[in-house]
């Protein structure tokens, strides 16, 4: 069907503008031009295939891959898979939890997407409903997952497969996910159609089984979340849920409140930080190298061309080696931030030859030799600091005063007139003396001192934060999410 998407009152146009508004609400900049493009997309594609519409709208509305997660969630709300309960497609709905788990195990083993979608619907229907009176009732993904516990199916699926694989003959498992199928009739058709995982084929790839199943389970949990959101959206209106229920894109998540999954995802998005840093810095160095015209040399050169300055001579910059000293808080209170600090440190080690890294909790120690390039796991790095460097004394909470004091006392020779010092931390002193004098001594010797603080400026100076006190001495920048971190780093670093 080709609904005239140009008619402002058509429900389709309304839906589209609703989607656009929701995306804008999440910080994705979409102009009217793109909305018109999106309408043209709907017209060109027709409304028969939902996946194509999803991809088409994404192509017209999005400008970067990091926006995709937000888009997918919003798309589910404004262009839902169906209305009401989606049981029309399946046979008999599951009667109880155990049967549901049985069928889930099979679908997970076979990686049957259609069946998993159906099961997500049934699970939310059966286990996720709360409240009885209209208005206060709804569906909860959390409750569904809590009762269904899909993560506990892992061992069982693996055991089934090992048994099935042996029974069905080793080496089976070509294209159709055999090996999982001894006598399970319920989803027979689902198995044959899909590619299946080929799981249970035995041999070398057996060691990958557990990880793959784990990923599928995580994927299923997301399906449940989407399904629950869809249902609530139907009751409360898509806008209500779009505003509250969609997680922000990874690079805009606050460091300090990010969940474990978000941190993992975030780490992937800033992984190419070193490469980006390299290109931007190279561009800046090139531009800076053009320099000013050297009048004296230009005039002398012009003598050979009869006094016409044909070839101007430039005053060359002597390429100074930028020196950087990083001073990082690696205590537990800024754990999320500290992870990124580690990434940053690694990225800088790749790009600058003279980087010295100091870590502290309440004592400070040099860790430059521990930061090897290319090591991808920041958590591992944090552990290594704790084990091999002296970064905490009697207790485990951070003490900026003592750490800065020790740095000024013992390591001040690392700081010279060409050194940029970057301090990374939340400036929460746990009630200890902030010791501004020590920071002042460092600032007096260094070329610049920058402080990156993972807290928003409105929280500076509250409680035990000494941010404002320190900000009087050095430049303090709020650095709450990965995007901001990238911006700051490229702006602040010396060329």
């Amino acid at each position: 069907m080709n609904a005239p998407a140009t008619d402002a009152r058509s429900p389709l146009a309304e839906r589209l503008t609703g989607l656009v508004r929701a995306l804008r609400g999440h910080g994705i900049r979409i102009g009217p031009g793109e909305t018109v493009d999106a309408a043209a997309v709907l017209e060109a594609l027709g409304l028969t295939d939902r996946e194509r519409i999803r991809e088409g709208l994404a192509a017209a509305l999005l400008r970067a891959d990091r926006q995709r997660a937000v888009f997918d969630a919003a798309f589910e709300l404004y262009f839902p898979l169906g209305v009401g309960e989606l049981t029309g497609t399946s046979g008999a709905p599951a009667a109880d939890r155990d049967e549901l788990r049985d069928r889930l195990a099979q679908a997970l083993a076979a990686d049957d997407t259609a069946a998993l979608n159906r099961l997500a619907g049934e699970a939310v229907d059966l286990l996720g409903r709360y409240g009885t009176s209209p208005g206060s009732d709804g569906w909860s993904a959390h409750q569904t997952l809590d009762r269904l516990r899909p993560q506990t199916l892992l061992a069982r699926i693996l055991a089934d497969q090992r048994a099935g694989g042996r029974g069905g003959g080793p080496g089976a498992g070509s294209g159709s996910g055999v090996g999982s199928g001894s006598g399970v009739g319920a989803f027979g058709s689902g198995f044959g159609g899909g590619f299946g995982g080929g799981i249970g084929s035995g041999g070398f790839t057996e060691r990958l089984d557990a990880d793959e199943i784990r990923r599928r389970i995580e994927d299923f949990r997301n399906r449940i979340r989407t399904e629950a959101r869809r249902r609530v959206a139907e009751r409360r209106g898509a806008e209500f849920i779009a505003e509250r229920g969609i997680a922000p894109s990874a690079d805009q998540v606050d460091f300090l409140i990010a969940s474990r999954e978000q941190l993992v995802e975030l780490r992937r998005t800033v992984q190419p930080l070193a490469r980006k840093l390299a290109t931007r810095l190279a561009a800046r160095r090139r531009r800076a190298a053009r320099g000013q015209i050297d009048i004296r040399r230009t005039l002398r050169r012009s003598l050979s061309t009869g006094g016409v300055p044909l070839r101007p001579a430039y005053r060359r910059h002597r390429p100074a080696r930028p020196e950087i000293v990083l001073l990082c808080d690696v205590s537990g209170s800024v754990a999320g931030f500290a992870n990124f600090t580690m990434l940053l440190v690694q990225a800088m080690r790749d790009q600058f030859s003279k980087v010295r890294v100091y870590a502290f909790v309440n004592r400070v120690d040099e860790v430059t030799h521990l930061v090897t390039t290319g090591e991808a796991d920041p958590a591992e790095l944090g552990r290594r600091f704790a084990a091999e460097a002296t970064i905490s004394g009697w207790h485990g909470s951070s003490d900026y005063g003592a750490a800065l004091g020790e740095f000024a006392e013992r390591h001040l020779d690392a700081v010279g007139p060409r050194t940029s010092v970057i301090v990374l931390g939340d400036a929460r002193t746990n009630g200890f003396d902030p010791n501004v004098a020590a920071l002042r001594r460092v600032a007096a010797r260094a070329r610049r001192v920058h402080w990156l603080n993972p807290e928003s400026p409105s929280q500076w100076g509250t409680g035990d934060s000494a941010a404002h006190t320190y900000a009087e001495v050095v430049d303090m920048h709020a650095c709450r999410n990965a995007r901001r971190l990238g911006e700051l780093v490229t702006r602040l670093l010396p060329v």
């Binding site: 997309v41 991809e55 017209a60 891959d65 590619f195 990958l208 990880d211 980006k276 290319g374």
Partner: protein, 295 residues
């Protein structure tokens, strides 16, 4: 759809999304739903297609496949640091102009002037080449992120109106829109203005099923079971946060290697010995060996 002048806007290579998938597959490019849909839209709406993604997922190959399918000539602009107008758009052939001036010493200057700024002395570079000419064209602007920011400004006029202004000749407008593909590895953020003019496609590593089909298409002699295991191992490697995740090209290389080695199924020795084909850093190899428990 037609614009103000009644000219058809699209490039008209494809009739439907299914048509895209089928014909690209014939040309040896297996497209996912996302790719097929976006290519169809780019074709239908006549907008440039900006393809972003990690190295080795087939961004450039996509443009080549479209050119093969549409029986179109492929005009390629390879971007690099320091590329400028005279490399991307057009340049006057100064040497030839000088010769022309010297040859016609006796004629009036006005005559010479109109003559030396004519088509004959114009060296067309890829962007102008793609816009002139009547045959169907695929314009590939490769690694756009490598070019400087100034070049993006240059692209804006070309990509939004498909026209180029040469001061001495006037504005040259495309009689037939080229199917335009821009690729980027995202080493630099492209400007918002450029992104707005394009349809955006993020091309990621294909899912297991598609990758298996790709491997079997490219390496026909490979056993199905082996192809399956191979793709799963590569998938597991990509999850490991390596310095350089193996790309599709490397999967295919690995498949060829295994075929050449005569391996009929994966075991620890084979994987350990051939890991160097898919992983290009020593740390990555060490990490993969540890995680796949090959030691």
């Amino acid at each position: 759809m037609a614009d103000d002048n009644g000219r058809p806007e699209g490039t008209g290579f494809f009739a439907s999304v299914d048509d895209v998938s089928a014909r690209l597959a014939e040309a040896g490019y297996l497209a996912s739903t996302a790719v097929a849909t976006t290519v169809f839209l780019a074709d239908r709406l006549g907008k440039p297609l900006l393809v972003e993604g990690p190295a080795g997922v087939g961004k450039t190959e996509l443009a080549k496949a479209v050119a093969r399918v549409g029986a179109a000539r492929l005009v390629r602009l390879q971007c690099y640091e320091g590329i400028d107008e005279s490399r991307a758009l057009y340049e006057w052939n100064h040497a030839k102009q000088l010769l022309r001036i010297t040859a016609g010493r006796d004629e009036a200057w006005d005559e010479t002037r109109t003559d030396i700024f004519s088509d004959e002395f114009l060296l067309t570079r890829p962007l102008l080449t793609a816009i002139r000419g009547d045959e169907p064209t695929v314009l590939l602007i490769d690694e756009t992120d490598k070019a400087d920011v100034e070049v993006e400004g240059l692209l804006l006029e070309v990509l939004s109106d498909f026209q180029v202004t040469v001061p001495e000749l006037g504005t040259i407008t495309a009689t037939r829109r080229p199917f335009t593909v821009l690729t980027s590895n995202a080493t630099r953020e492209l400007s918002e203005a450029l992104r707005r003019r394009c349809l955006f496609l993020h091309l990621d590593f294909p899912d297991a099923e598609l990758e298996q089909r790709i491997v079997r298409l490219q390496v026909p002699g490979l056993d199905a079971t082996l192809a399956d295991s191979l793709v799963r191992v590569v998938g597991a490697l990509r999850e490991m946060e390596l310095r350089k995740a193996p790309s599709v090209a490397e999967t295919i290389d690995w498949a060829r290697t295994l075929l050449a080695l005569g391996a009929d199924n994966l075991d620890e020795t084979v994987v350990r010995d051939s890991l160097g084909v898919i992983l290009k850093h020593q740390d990555d190899i060490a990490k993969a060996t540890r995680k796949l428990t090959l030691v």
